[in-house]
């Protein structure tokens, strides 16, 4: 699907594609780095600290009803959507990318390349780590968590990253709640594998790789929707809000209505008329 849901007042507009983090062109990667750097430099409710803090600390921890419940996928889809809008406010060409963390006999577990190196072009790589806000740190320490002011990872410790076969098995599940619960289990293993800040809910979203991980989760939900057309979250939840986001469960169901879809890689150009 390459266009958004049309509305009466205008024709369907082309959607943006979220891309594989390891397949970005140099220009796409630079745009991503620049957008993250730009939101790091804002310390109000347009900036990175604000959005990272929605998931965890500082209080309130708004994702508390979004783990271990059928809200898991809709809430995080809304979360990604509003953060992507914030990135796009800094650079209209910026967008989220997905980390394909699946392993198999040909793929060893690893972080996506753009997020794995401390330096990029001789400067600090904005996708490698980020600062945690002061209030989040204070509240974390009040709760007994000794955690650094800059995000760190300890990848490779158990549990193992999910395999391609495990993801395929989850995609076969027909009921939304069954699928969502199984996918959330795989999701938690990725948090645990990355470790460090990513390993705990209050600080996970401060790590830039959080967004690539959850974009992969959102992509798997999209793939499941394509395989099981008409399969929906429970009807009783569809018109429930997803606080603090101004969006209901129902409004998260169509990625094309939200203006995006997933592509392995993309390339485009202007065209020239030849006579």
């Amino acid at each position: 699907m390459s266009t958004g849901t049309p509305i009466a007042q205008q024709p369907a507009a082309p959607v943006r594609f979220r891309r594989n983090a390891d397949r970005l062109t140099e220009g796409q990667l630079q745009t991503l780095r620049n957008a993250f750097q730009a939101v790091y430099e804002i310390d109000d409710d347009r900036g990175y600290g604000y959005f990272a803090g929605i998931h965890g600390l500082p209080l309130p921890i708004s994702c508390e009803n979004a783990h271990g419940t059928p809200y898991f996928l809709p809430w995080h889809r809304a979360y990604l959507y509003f953060f992507e809008r914030a990135l796009r406010d800094r650079d209209p060409n910026a967008g989220l990318v997905w980390w394909d963390w699946r392993v198999d006999s040909d793929r060893q577990p690893s972080l996506p390349n753009p997020y794995a190196k401390a330096k990029a072009d001789g400067k600090a790589n904005p996708l490698y780590s980020a600062k945690v806000t002061k209030l989040a740190l204070e509240q974390g320490r009040r709760g007994g968590m000794q955690i650094g002011a800059t995000t760190k990872r300890e990848p490779g410790s158990p549990p193992e990253l999910p395999s391609r076969d495990e993801v395929n098995e989850v995609l076969e599940r027909k009921q939304f709640t069954d699928f969502s619960g199984a996918l959330e289990g795989l999701h938690g293993r990725v948090h645990g594998w990355v470790g460090g800040h990513m390993g705990v809910i209050p600080f996970a979203a401060f790590d830039p790789v959080f967004w690539a991980h959850h974009t992969m989760i959102d992509r798997i939900w999209r793939l499941w929707q394509l395989r099981h057309p008409g399969a929906l979250p429970p009807a009783s939840l569809l018109d429930e809000a997803l606080p603090p986001f101004r969006m209901t469960v129902r409004q998260t169901l169509s990625v094309s209505a939200l203006g995006y879809d997933y592509a392995f890689a993309t390339a485009s150009s202007e065209v020239t008329v030849r006579r």
């Binding site: 507009a13 900036g47 809008r85 101004r246 209505a257 203006g259």
Partner: protein
């Protein structure tokens, strides 16, 4: 003190059937202090001390509950700081200027001639200078006179 005024607005040639008249202010600034906007017709001398009487061609007022200044970083309160497109589900920027309508039927009846000028005097509540991060009030963008038969 802040004042702003309109260009001359044309009045209907025959006003005998006019039942109601509204002034509609577009692009009203609400980013700064809370303020009262006092409306006078054809009274360029009006100021904060002008009595609110028919003799002074006072027409009414509206009050803006102000945001109180900007508490974020550069351009935090600037609607232009957003990139938006057809897929943007966010509500409008909270400081998008407002539209305010004030009914001025009686005051307009007292105006003679073919045109009228609208003069607005901004009055800040006492102590607002200390309460608000900003006391600046930008003029509204446009004024429209609408009459109804």
């Amino acid at each position: 003190m802040t004042r702003f005024q309109s260009e001359p607005l044309d009045l209907p040639a025959d006003r005998t059937d006019v039942q109601r008249a509204d002034l509609v202010f577009y692009g009203v600034d609400h980013s700064g202090p809370t303020y009262e906007a006092r409306i006078f017709l054809d009274n360029a001398r009006a100021n904060v001390d002008t009595p609110l009487t028919a003799d002074e061609r006072y027409a009414g007022s509206f009050t803006v509950f102000g945001h109180g200044g900007c508490f974020g970083g550069d351009d935090h309160c600037a609607p232009r700081d957003r990139y938006s497109d057809e897929f943007d589900r966010r509500p409008p920027h909270p400081l998008t200027p407002q539209t305010v309508a004030v009914t001025i039927t009686d005051a307009l009846e007292r105006i003679q001639g073919e045109q009228v000028k609208v003069h607005v005097v901004i009055v800040l509540p006492e102590g607002m200078e200390k309460l608000s991060g900003s006391t600046a009030v930008a003029a509204c963008e446009r004024v429209r006179l609408a009459t109804y038969a």
